[in-house]
Each structure stands twice: as structure tokens, then as C-alpha cells.
């Protein structure tokens, strides 16, 4: 297995799928001649030509809608948003068109397509460019929401998302693009709706997705030094959620902390902790704790930004308290 970056893994998934299926095309701002704002589509214009790798004007609503229409007409669009912050402009097409088209037409039309791009907090770009939106899309029937936390998952999940016959919201993490790890070569598919246990442990379950998975793994190392053996579960697909894997872990550890970068109120952690309460209440030895971003728009100053985001120390502290350790 070769060691490649998260962005190269995404690139491989797109290239493989485009080689396999000529209905697949990539469209977005700066995806072609500039090779991608975050270089995810590096080299794809050369490989596939301007018919299938298409630069757009800065017109998110328009090209998102174009993707919806193209999908309804039988193509398999990958629509890249430079970041998910800009996708708010396109929310009508995602929420009112793509998500509902199959239902509203009683199955006559569907939208097999991927909306993808960078999400979560970036570094030092203030409030409009640093936010988590997975809970917005995860609330909507008709959408699937996928968030890889490492390069191998990025490749396998994106390939599966492109092959999926529904609309997939694929949220990458800007900070993770340069992460390097081993990634299987050639065709590699990770089924949607399957969580992954990133670290086996017996004392407490840490549920974390996207960039927070790395934080949870780092926290687990700290916790090990205190004699707490943490299990880290990465849902990978946010909607629909593989809660069985989470519940099985909690049944073993009897304690859980749910971690997310986004805001606390009505966040992903609220849903996951509610499910643990509904279905795993008897397994719990302590209330489920949540570690989230603070309930503020993201500030610019380095110290304020740092303070607004969840930290490894926050996770360690929440786990320690949940385990009732001094």
C-alpha cells in the first residue's frame, strides 16, 4: 500500500470512477485549469479533458441546479463546492430539488449525484469560512451525509458515494487535506452506512467524525496514560448512521463521549447521545457527555479561534469525568 495524502486519495477515487463510468463528470469553481482550490482535482483536466472537468463561474446556486438537472437527465455529476460555506447559496437546489426529487416525482426522476467540498473549521479565516454544516443536511430525508476522517476512508467513501444512486453530501475537511497515510491502490470501496472502530478499548467509547476522529485518537493516547482504555468509533457516514456499532461499543464500555467540531445545539452529538439514551440506556453507567465547538461564530485571532474549537484536552477531560476518575 502506498502512502498518499487525503487530497490524493480523493483524486484517485474520482479518477477511478470517471474511468469506469463516462456519465461521471466533475464541475465546480477552479476544478479544471487551476487544478482545484485545494488541489483535489490536480491533473484531472489533462486526464479527462474540458468536457468532463468543468470550471464554472462563481455561481453556486446555478451550477448546483445544473447538476440536479443533469442527474435527472441520467448523468452522474460530482459538484464541487470550494467550501461548504458557499453551498448555502445553493441550499435551495440541494434541499428543495435534489433531496426531494425522487419522492416528489414518485420515483420517476432521481438525483444520483455527489455534492462535495471542504467543510468544518479552516485555519484563521474567521466566521464565514469556518463552520460545520453536517447537521443541517443530516436532518433531511433523501440525503446521505458522508465525512471521511483519513486518506483511506476518503478514497473508499468517495468512490462509494459516486456509485450510490442517491444524492450524497460529501464533506471533506480542509485541515486534513495534507494528511498522509496508507491507502489501498486500485479500486477501493467502503460501503456507506458503516462505522469504523479506529481504536479498540474497554473503558469508554469516544464517538467522533471527520477531523475530530484524529483528536479522539490523540485523546485516547492521553487517557491510556491515566489508565483509561478508550474505544474510538468513527461513524464515517453521518446519515444514515450505523448506530449498531456505536451501541455495541457502549454496551461494552458503558460510557460515552460524543465529539463534534460544530455547534452543540441540535448538533450531531445531540442526535447520537439521544440514540444512546433511547436504545442503550441500561448499558450506561454515566450520562453521555458531549464535546462540541463553542456556541459562537468563529473568531479570527489565533487564541480566540483555538478557544472556540474543541481540543484534545477537552475530550480527555470529558472522558475522565465520565469515567469518574480524579
Amino acid at each position: 500500500m502506498a502512502k498518499i495524502t487525503y487530497r490524493e486519495a480523493l483524486n484517485q477515487a474520482m479518477c477511478n470512477e470517471m474511468e469506469r463510468d463516462d456519465r461521471v463528470f466533475l464541475m465546480g469553481e477552479e476544478v479544471a485549469e487551476y487544478n482545484g482550490a485545494y488541489k483535489v482535482s490536480q491533473g484531472m483536466l489533462d486526464k479527462f479533458g474540458p468536457k468532463r472537468v468543468i470550471d464554472t463561474p462563481i455561481t453556486e446556486l446555478g451550477f448546483a441546479g445544473l447538476g440536479v438537472g443533469a442527474a435527472m437527465a441520467g448523468l452522474r455529476p460530482i459538484i464541487e463546492f470550494m467550501t461548504w460555506n458557499f453551498a448555502i447559496l445553493a441550499a435551495d437546489q440541494i434541499v428543495n430539488a435534489a433531496a426531494k426529487m425522487k419522492y416528489m416525482t414518485a420515483g420517476q426522476y432521481n438525483c444520483p449525484m455527489v455534492f462535495r467540498g471542504a467543510g468544518g473549521a479552516a485555519a484563521r479565516v474567521s466566521s464565514q469560512h469556518s463552520q460545520a454544516f453536517e447537521n443541517w443536511y443530516a436532518n433531511i430525508p433523501g440525503l446521505k451525509v458522508v465525512m471521511p476522517s483519513n486518506p483511506a476512508d476518503a478514497k473508499g467513501l468517495l468512490a462509494a458515494s459516486i456509485r450510490d444512486n442517491d444524492t450524497v453530501i460529501f464533506i471533506e475537511n480542509e485541515i486534513n487535506y495534507g494528511d498522509i497515510a496508507e491507502v489501498p491502490e486500485g479500486e477501493y470501496i467502503i460501503p456507506l452506512g458503516k462505522a469504523d472502530i479506529k481504536r479498540v478499548g474497554k473503558d469508554i467509547t469516544l464517538v467522533a467524525h471527520s477531523r475530530m476522529t484524529g483528536y479522539a485518537l490523540a485523546a485516547a493516547e492521553e487517557l491510556a496514560k491515566m489508565g483509561i482504555d478508550a474505544e474510538v468509533v468513527d461513524p464515517r457516514t453521518i446519515r444514515p448512521l450505523d448506530e449498531a456499532t456505536i451501541l455495541a461499543s457502549v454496551a461494552k464500555t458503558n460510557r460515552a463521549v460524543v465529539i463534534e467540531e460544530g455547534w452543540r445545539f441540535a448538533g450531531i452529538g445531540a442526535e447520537i447521545s439521544a440514540r444512546i439514551m433511547e436504545k442503550g440506556f441500561d448499558d450506561l453507567d454515566a450520562p453521555v457527555a458531549r464535546v462540541t465547538g463553542k456556541d459562537v461564530p468563529m473568531p479570527y485571532a489565533a487564541n480566540l479561534e483555538n478557544h472556540a474549537l474543541p481540543s484534545v484536552a477537552d475530550i480527555v477531560e470529558a472522558a475522565r469525568v465520565t469515567c469518574n476518575r480524579a
Binding site: 463528470f25 468536457k51 464554472t56 463561474p57 455561481t59 446556486l61 446555478g62 451550477f63 448546483a64 441546479g65 445544473l66 447538476g67 440536479v68 438537472g69 443533469a70 442527474a71 435527472m72 437527465a73 441520467g74 448523468l75 455529476p77 435551495d92 437546489q93 428543495n96 430539488a97 425522487k102 419522492y103 416528489m104 416525482t105 414518485a106 420515483g107 420517476q108 426522476y109 432521481n110 444520483p112 430525508p141 433523501g142 446521505k144 450510490d164 444512486n165 442517491d166 456507506l192 452506512g193 458503516k194 457516514t237 446519515r239 444514515p240 448512521l241 450505523d242 448506530e243 449498531a244 440514540r275 433511547e278
Partner: protein, 351 residues
């Protein structure tokens, strides 16, 4: 306009150099009249509370529906806003299924999932029926993109109203369509009012066919109360798009006789204004007059035809009403294509 009874090959009439056979004229007239009577019936059913929610009728705009359909190929794509009954009927969808949809019945075009605003028929290449003003415009662009991608020469007929044309998505679409020379005809049904707001109160440039100038999208204005002019000009516009010259805007000057929706008494318009359009420019009366003058039909024949159509519509409404409501089990149908059985929310169940 000249009567051409004497023309060798067929009986019909010629307008602006274009010949229409008597058979075709009768078909166009019949479809306009059918839509008119269908909408009247829908209005009546709404009054009886048999149709719920929003219901937008197109009485007065029939020439636009029928002329466009006459000019297009069945393989061309068409999509519009929520004022969609006339368009889908003109496309050839079974009217009983349209009425059943209005009534929320199992045999509705979308099985009772959409209602008045969401009529779709994939077999007829009719992609809605879209409820958010202007939403269908980028979607129409996507169909045109697919046509160019596959090089199958299909044209996307993307319809909006004089209200929809003020949405930003429309200009994003004009720009991309022109940039990439996509085969799309942007049709603006200018019925003069966006809900209760007259064109001049909402648009700085009221000549809507000029709205593409900054994007190098040519535009033409058409008398949308003249079905033959609609057919002729729309044919030219479709040919423009099909031949690879890119998008074109067609502004159809028309008028809706009824309010914006069933709950709108339309008090923002004067009686004189409505009468001027209704009695002076009515598209059905106009074609009837042309056909009578050309000796292709008589007043009595039209009266009989109207009676027959009204009877047909009564039968359609009856058949639609006799259908059962959708089975409760379909509540869970058609949300996802690839359901994931072991992940939450679990398919087909609560919690």
C-alpha cells in the same frame, strides 16, 4: 392571414408564410379548449374543497402551452414552475392522472405525492412542476448540459414567469448557457403579474426578452395570445438552440384570467383590463375566428366541440374522483434508491 382552401395538397390556412392544415388547427384549437375547460373544472373542484393547498390555473395562457408543444419534439425536455396543468396536458399526459393528482388520488401523475404544483411525467420528458420560483431554471440548464454532453440534440425548454425572471438563479443560468452554448430555450410567460405585483412594480426593464443582453443571450417577444405565432416563433427558437447556436429567450406576452392562485381574488387589476384581454385577445376565440373566416369550421361546429369537451372533462373528473386515496404504505416509498437497511433512520420505520 389568408384562407387557403384552394391549396392543392391540403385544406388549411397560412399565417406569415407558414401553412397549417385544417386537421392540425382543429387539434390545436381542441387542446386549448380542453385546457380551458379542465382548468375551469379544477377551479370548481377547488371551490368544493376537493382540491387542497395551492392551485394555480392558467386560463388565458393556453396558446403558450399548446403552441410550444406543437413546435417541440417529444424528446425535447420541458420544465416549468407551479402553474403546470396546461403544460403537462399539452405534452400529452393523461388528463385523468392530472386531475387525480389534484385530488390527491393514487392514480395521480406522481401518486398523490405532489399535487397541483408538482406534475411530472418522465415518459413525456416533462420535468415539473417546481414549486420554488425560478428553481427550475438551473435544472433546465442541467438537462441542456446533458444533451450537449451526450450530443443527442435534445433541446431543454425551460419555462418561467415574469416573477421568476427576477430570481438570481435565472441570470446565473443565462450566463452559463451562453458561455457553453447550451441548447436551451428560456421561455418567459409574461402574464403581467407576479402574484399581486404588476410587472412595472417589480421590473426596472419590463421588456423581459432583453434580459439576456448582458449575457449575449438573444431574445424575442411573441404574442402569447396567438397560438400560431407561438408555434412559429417557438419553432425558430428551438431550431436556434438545436443547431448549436446556444440559448435564446422567448418572451410570451400573455394574461391569466384568474387570480394568482385560488385564494387570490385579483383585486389589483381593473375589470376593464381583464375584459380587454379576455374578450379582445382570447386565444381560443381568435383561432376560432380565423378558422371560420378561412372556411375551415362553423360556429355551430365549435359549439358542439365545446359541449363534447365539457362532457369529456366531467368524465375525467368523475374517473379521477372514483380513484382511491394512496395506500398509506407509499408514505415511505421513493425516498432513497439505495436504502441502507441497517443504518438509522431505518428505511420504512419510525425511530
Amino acid at each position: 392571414m389568408t384562407g387557403t382552401k384552394t391549396q392543392e395538397q391540403a385544406v388549411g390556412l397560412t399565417q406569415e408564410g407558414r401553412f397549417y392544415s385544417a386537421e392540425r388547427l382543429h387539434a390545436m384549437h381542441g387542446m386549448m379548449l380542453y385546457i380551458r375547460r379542465f382548468e375551469e373544472k379544477a377551479g370548481q373542484m377547488y371551490g368544493l374543497k376537493k382540491i387542497g393547498g395551492f392551485c394555480h390555473l392558467c386560463n388565458g395562457q393556453e396558446a403558450v402551452c399548446v403552441g410550444m408543444e406543437e413546435a417541440s419534439e417529444p424528446t425535447d425536455y420541458m420544465m416549468t414552475s407551479y402553474r403546470d396543468h396546461g403544460h403537462i396536458i399539452a405534452r400529452g399526459t393523461n388528463p385523468t392522472a392530472v386531475m387525480a393528482e389534484l385530488l390527491g388520488r393514487a392514480g395521480g401523475v406522481v401518486g398523490g405525492k405532489g399535487g397541483s404544483m408538482h406534475m411530472f411525467d418522465v415518459e413525456k420528458n416533462f420535468a415539473g412542476g417546481n414549486g420554488i420560483v425560478g428553481e427550475q431554471v438551473p435544472i433546465g440548464l442541467g438537462f441542456a448540459f446533458a444533451s450537449q454532453y451526450r450530443d443527442d440534440k435534445r433541446v431543454s425548454i425551460t419555462i418561467m414567469g415574469d416573477g421568476g425572471v427576477n430570481q438570481g438563479a435565472v441570470y446565473e443560468s443565462f450566463n452559463m448557457a451562453a458561455l457553453w452554448k447550451l441548447p436551451v430555450v428560456f421561455v418567459i410567460e409574461n402574464n403581467q403579474y407576479a402574484m399581486g405585483t404588476s410587472l412595472s412594480r417589480a421590473s426596472a426593464e419590463t421588456h423581459l426578452y432583453k434580459r439576456g443582453i448582458s449575457f449575449k443571450v438573444p431574445g424575442i417577444q411573441v404574442d402569447g395570445m396567438d397560438v400560431l405565432e407561438v408555434e412559429r416563433k417557438m419553432g425558430e427558437a428551438i431550431e436556434h438552440a438545436r443547431s448549436g447556436q446556444g440559448p435564446i429567450i422567448v418572451e410570451m406576452m400573455t394574461y391569466r384570467y384568474r387570480g394568482h392562485s385560488m385564494s387570490d381574488p385579483a383585486t389589483y387589476r381593473t375589470r376593464d383590463e381583464v375584459d380587454e384581454w379576455r374578450t379582445g385577445r382570447d386565444p381560443i376565440a381568435r383561432l376560432q375566428k380565423q378558422m371560420i373566416e378561412a372556411g375551415l369550421a362553423t360556429e355551430a361546429e365549435f359549439k358542439q366541440k365545446d359541449k363534447d369537451i365539457k362532457k369529456e372533462i366531467v368524465a375525467v373528473a368523475k374517473a379521477a374522483e372514483a380513484q382511491p386515496e394512496p395506500d398509506l404504505s407509499v408514505l415511505w416509498d421513493d425516498i432513497l434508491t439505495d436504502e441502507i437497511p441497517n443504518a438509522y433512520p431505518y428505511p420504512r420505520q419510525v425511530g
